[in-house]
Symmetry: C2
Subunit: 308 residues, 2 copies
């Protein structure tokens, strides 16, 4: 905190004899200050090929796909979107403290909407191999569920050096591929988003294919379904899906212009530390630690430089 290490700033300008060593800043920065003072290169744009727009009556949900973890599912979901599979389908399930799920409301499989050139089901992508080209910024705070946790190119993730595997984690906003009782029964025709305390016990049991980066409130504030598992009991309760598009297929003027904080920079590490030890005057007892799914993943409008 070093509050007495130098005299005030205006005297410093007049010639304070500060020793020529790096001194820590007088006051550690808050996470908001770190973001405000970040450099343009601390941020990254979304890749339009890996970005989906889920258009609902009340607005747009922006999803970032994670082909590094689920290449086949990301490709299949992209194909489904490009062939307009999701258009006209609906949000069919909202279970409190759990998930919002969309897909084909038709229960009779014979009448199900055709998947076109996409696959109806795929082999699971629950985990992948750890590899040198898979970025990973470890979080030093430990975890109840995994030997190592951290962030991989903006996605909260976990690793097990013993098994050599890495996987995405079920944090708030995670996008998953609904499946039946067999691991290979999902393919992306029905997708879910975590709207709750993170159900990390699902990790490595189901394929995560991305995460929501904007518009979570459009999924989290929906009325809960009253049927088993939160399925809606009446068709009128469902929220219709206007369309799902790959951002690359949308005219540039209609694309979201979001930037996401990179998770492989010093700014990121400082940001996480400012969340681990909150410096806002409101806090009296900084936690001194942070749990993976409590690390916010900052998103801002490119034009505004304002964090949403």
């Amino acid at each position: 905190m070093n509050k007495k290490a130098c005299v005030p700033f205006f005297i410093l300008l007049a010639g304070c004899a500060t020793p020529p060593v790096a001194t820590p800043p007088e006051k550690p920065r808050t996470s908001a200050e770190i973001l405000e003072q970040s450099a343009p290169e601390d941020w990254r744009a979304l890749d339009p090929e890996n970005t989906l727009y889920l258009e609902l009556p009340k607005g747009r949900v922006v999803v970032e796909l994670a082909p590094a973890f689920a290449p086949n599912h990301a490709a299949n979901i992209r194909t489904l979107a490009r062939e307009k599979y999701f258009d006209g389908l609906a949000i069919i399930r909202v279970q409190d403290n759990y998930v919002t799920q969309w897909g084909d409301p038709e229960e009779d499989e014979k009448k199900a909407k055709p998947v076109g050139t996409a696959k109806a089901t795929l082999p699971p992508e629950f985990t992948r191999d750890i590899a040198p080209d898979l970025p990973f910024t470890p979080l030093a705070d430990g975890d109840v569920y995994a030997p190592e946790v951290g962030h991989s190119a903006g996605f909260p993730a976990a690793r097990d050096p013993k098994s050599g595997k890495a996987w995405l984690t079920h944090c708030y906003g995670a996008l998953g591929v609904a499946r039946g009782n067999t691991p290979d029964s999902g393919g992306g025709t029905s997708l879910y988003v975590i709207i709750s305390h993170s159900p990390r016990h699902l990790d490595r049991n189901i394929t995560l294919a991305g995460r929501v980066v904007q518009g979570m409130e459009l999924l989290s504030s929906l009325p809960r379904g009253t049927g088993p598992l939160g399925f809606y009991e009446k068709p009128a309760q469902r929220t219709p899906i206007r369309r799902v598009r790959v951002a690359a297929d949308v005219p540039e003027k209609d694309r979201a212009t979001l930037e996401l904080l990179r998770t492989d920079t010093n700014t990121w590490n400082e940001f996480v530390d400012a969340r681990r030890n909150r410096r806002e005057p409101w806090f009296v007892e900084p936690a001194g630690a942070i749990e993976l799914c409590n690390v916010p993943l900052p998103v801002r409008e490119k034009s505004e430089k304002r964090v949403r």
Copy 2:
């Protein structure tokens, strides 16, 4: 799993030479089976003096107060409810992935609703001393935020043997006492409920006074406020509070007849273990651990014996 330890059941009846030692059951029970087969004494009723009904236009939210952790705040909230302080106030804030908060929408302090014989503010009850009469069932799985976590008479809680302190934790459904920048600026006139991934960094920074045991969906599915911190910008967006009552003051026929699973029994321990190692056939990779806020706190209708 011991599937070959004995011949099938019908032969057993005819005289199978099972050795007279306790054998593990053929198949570990799922959490649903454990609840279905639980004994009446595994459950407890709510104490009507420690139960609040928050009556909203769409239904009732049932809150259990935690006088063991926040005796002064619980008493003050009870007084506020008994003197009808909350009646006609509103839900003024819903911040996505964070909290729903209610209180007096009036921003001009001079025009604020009088608190009657209650206190407007109280000294904080962020922690309390560990004591022999404070129940605590430890959770063996560790925690990122606290040296020890577990459950205290139905509430998720943490302890630090070094400081001798115990505290309630910010899990989904926790009821907290909103405050300003100084620790003693809250008193219960404005209350919040966690509707998100658990913001455990708030632990020991703000008084938790209870938790929601039924009706969470009435708080979690509300439209998010678009003002700073999720406050509603227009009065019409707020959800009015019809009334808040202490259950003891409500005619018995109008009371909720809920039972909560006790957290100090063998059934509880078995239940937690069945959530730690999920036995439903859907799971391919049981987590082998469970994080405090992922432990569900089962509630059922007394009449139905059906878990909600």
